[in-house]
Amino acid sequence: MKPAKLKIIRLLWGLLAVCLVWVGYPAVASADYPYATNYRSETDPLVWTQAAFAPEQVLGRDIFIPDPEDPQKQVLSPLAQPSDLFVDSQDVIYVADTGNNRIVVFQRDGTFDRVLPALPEKPLSSPKGLYVDGKGHIYVADTGNARIVMLDSDGKLLKEYTLPKSRFIPEGYRFEPIKVAVDKRGYVYIVSLGSYNGLLQLDPDGGFVRFFAANKAPFTLLDSIKRKIYTRAMYEKQISKLPPAINNVNIDERGFVYTVSFGEQLKSSQVKKLNYAGKDFLASDNSTGTSNDTFGEIRFAAATQIPNLTDIAVDRLGNFSVIDSDSKVISQYDTFGNLLFFWSGDASPNTTQLGIVKSPAAIDINSQNEIYILDNNANLIQKFRQTEFGALVYKANNLTIDGRYKEAEPVWREVLHLNAYYTPAVIGLAQAAYSRGDYPEAKKLYLQAGIQKGYSNAFWQIRLEWLQDRFGLLMNILIGVIVLYILYRIAAKRYPALSRLRLSRIRLTSRFIGQLRHTFYVLRHPVDGFYALRYEHKGSYLSACVVLVLAYISYAVIRSYTSFSFNAEAIKALSATTVFLQFFLVWVGWVISNYLVSSIMRGEGRFKDVFIGSSYALTPFIVVGLPLTLISNGMSLSEESIYQFLHQGMYVWVFLLLIWKVMSIQNYTVGETAVNLLYTVGTMVIIGVLCFILFGLSTELRSFIYSIVQEVSVR
């Protein structure tokens, strides 16, 4: 065959192969949603996941009502600035159509059902909230009329709640009900616009019970100082400190009351989950609370941006979703407040797109885990259903929460198969492995997920098993060593030559070795040791550099090899340059500023002495740090107090050595030393700031020169 023909055939084969590959791997991107879904964990600030919910349907385009002029004809009457949405236990959807002063009902499949008839004596006036209880009674927050009305399912007025008379309600309390919720006993919880007193709780007959779930006014140290030193007139000019107001309220099937709050300084507890006694189950500061108490995620948050949560939806199992009306992010948490997903997409102001909510006003979820979000800008309702991925995660997480780890395991495995970066799946698998006794596996998974406590517990179990297996052997070795030692002592007594052997180790009497050995003398007798460094030539630049390098190596080893139980950094990719810079910048800064300050303050030390002394003072890193790092890998969190004691002791020791160094080398008194240290730290800060500015400016200058060169050369 001719080579050219061969070539063509080969080309054809190649093309075929490419086609086959193409068929074998269809486009990886699945259904294209107009928003991105994320997860965030301790170890990874942003994980991209598959969508947990998919947009399905838009509701509210088919509202036809009899034409008021011609009752025979049907006219389109869209929603107008609706503000609340509620899905009842039969999955029927109710919307508070604020602009049209009416309540609109949709059937469970999303088609328009009816508009509740207007109340004959006093029609609704911009109703902003509504709630439907288990018996089908509809409670409407009739904002314009400052009342709550209770209707039956046909819209007939049953009861009316207005602001009750009570001496506990402050003078000038503005009652402007915007949201309402009702518990199983018939007690009514009312959110009044901007009220910082908390929820107004009324009994079923409309009597005042209490203010419930009020937030705490933010109060900082600065405020307390202000309060101390300001005069009354000055203090009154300050912006008054008010507790964050509650935005919304919801009650789940188990009777927990959820509040959603917003305030300028509200950094945590945006969502509260309260029992009847008012105890928050999502707070980190009480015994019933959980670890996570900040809610409302923002994908790339600006420094001042805080979530403005407006509504919360709780599903049957206690998982809840909140919407943020500023950033339009929907965040989902499980019943303990652990994040599951958050998602948001960019809205264009002109077009309406399925899946993009321009201005979310309310959210609710039905029994099929379908989410409805009310858009008060587009005047529509968007419906989302769980994707396969979302359903799997929910199922697995609910099983894990119930403690059915074994059943959850295959589901988590499937989740992990779909998304290898989804940390809750790893945690779930780790819990499963731990509960079935596979501790090495659990340890590995906890390490991967970055859970220190779980890792430590698994390690504890492994260590226990190890000890149990080898106890006899270890004890025999111990006894053997002790017996050998005693024998040695007896023998040494008989034959003194033996003990002399130990003493007469090979002595290297070189000057350099002596200088290195001096570090140990410094450790035991810091004052004399540093004095000797200054006046007796016990150190040199070479020995100081050796000690310094050793200390740096130890420091790096401590940072990267300490057991994960104590060192969350162990799993992060620690860049060697960062550690290097951190260590040496601080050290060089210290040496320079200490020398400068001391020479001004009539210290007696030369630069050489400061250099050598400062590096010798780092010896505890080598002497304590290295063994501690080694030991830490055999420790679990139950020995944390020992570890912390030694770890902090090491730093305290270094600090004390530095103090002694300044004192002895510069020949200072205690008071002078303290002043010197203070100035040194100040100088270090100034040097740091100057370096920062210089660096920033030089970068600017460089780019400036570069652009000039570009200008000249290109033109």
Binding site: F219, S287, F471, R494, S638, E639, T669, V670, G671
Partner: protein, 326 residues
């Protein structure tokens, strides 16, 4: 012939001389007889020491290798007790040991430093006051139990009326009363605080005596040599000249913290403490010794505690013990 005898003998004679064993023994007897009056003088102490300290400790050591329930005769079981302790007793491994370490590591050094500082402060006071302040500081360790019920329990009471809670609530530091002594999160802290308060015991008195004993001429000499501040005085003169008392204080602090046990149950009013948060080795010993009557295992635990104390004392000797050449 025991080893100690040979040692005694060797001390008297040049090492390496080979004397027959029989001869050694008779020589020893002669030696003892020669100093019979001295032996008579130390006899009261030695007898008490042997019967009330040495024998019980040796018994505990022996019992720790047996299974013994105080009714049947002890049965030798070898290492089994220790094996169970290190690898099977989850209560001990998960709670008693970590809690004891935490308690000792925090309460020991802090109490020690506090006793030194207080002793020093009191030593500055004029003579009339000194006595009374020393007494006041010493009294908590004397009447721990009474003071506990009068002072600490109302102070740390977990309801709204407890002094600490009502104060914190009033000042807005907390929103709801904190269970200082009955919750697992706070019990340990309360225990440490109360222990610190009552840690001004014998060690404190010894240190006070040590400070007062420092030769005043030394301070004068120091001043002439250029000591300018009180701090330097402490560092260069006071501490070096009271090393024995410092050592004694350290040993007492260690022993005190390791053998503290009742405080958790006293404070919380429960035994065992809530979720074992205040469970120390001493509680574990009590539990096995006097509730379960597994005296063999309880002895093993005590032996372990003894070992722990011994090692930490060794450490203290290293730190504070004056070496011969200094």
């Amino acid at each position: 012939m025991s080893r100690s005898d040979t040692q005694v003998m060797n001390r008297g004679y040049a090492p390496g001389t080979t004397v027959r064993t029989k001869g050694k023994l008779s020589l020893l007897m002669k030696e003892i007889w020669r100093y019979r009056l001295s032996y008579l003088f130390i006899a009261p102490f030695m007898i008490c020491f042997t019967f009330f300290i040495l024998v019980p400790v040796v018994c505990a050591l022996l019992l720790s290798f047996t299974s013994y329930n105080s009714l049947e005769p002890p049965r030798f079981i070898g290492w089994a007790n220790f094996r169970y302790m290190i690898s099977g007793d989850l209560l001990f491994l998960q709670y008693a040991l970590p809690n004891t370490f935490k308690f000792a590591v925090i309460a020991g050094p802090l109490g020690y430093i506090a006793s030194f500082l207080l002793a020093w402060l009191i030593s500055i006071l004029p003579g009339v006051w000194r006595k009374w302040f020393a007494l006041a500081m010493y009294s908590p360790s004397l009447m721990g139990g009474i003071a506990m019920t009068i002072v600490w329990l109302p102070l740390l009471s977990g309801d709204r009326i407890g002094y600490l809670n009502s104060f914190l609530l009033e000042w807005g530091f907390i929103k709801e009363p904190v269970l200082w002594v009955t919750s697992k999160d706070h019990l340990m802290t309360s225990m440490i605080v109360v222990t610190l308060w009552s840690s001004m015991g014998i060690g404190f008195l010894a240190m006070l005596a040590g400070i007062l004993n420092v030769n005043p001429e030394l301070y004068e000499a120091g001043k002439l040599d250029g000591i300018k501040s009180r701090l330097e005085e402490i560092w260069y003169i006071t501490i070096p000249s009271m090393k024995p008392q410092m050592l004694f204080g350290a040993v007492m602090a260690i022993v005190g913290t390791f053998k503290a046990g009742g405080i958790g149950t006293q404070l919380s009013g429960m035994n065992p403490t809530p979720q074992y948060s205040g469970h120390l080795i001493m509680n574990q010993i009590d539990d096995y010794g006097f509730i379960r009557f597994e005296l063999g295992y309880a002895s093993a635990l005590s032996v372990f505690l003894l070992l722990l104390m011994y090692l930490s004392n060794k450490f203290c000797w290293r730190l504070f013990g004056s070496k011969g050449d200094e």
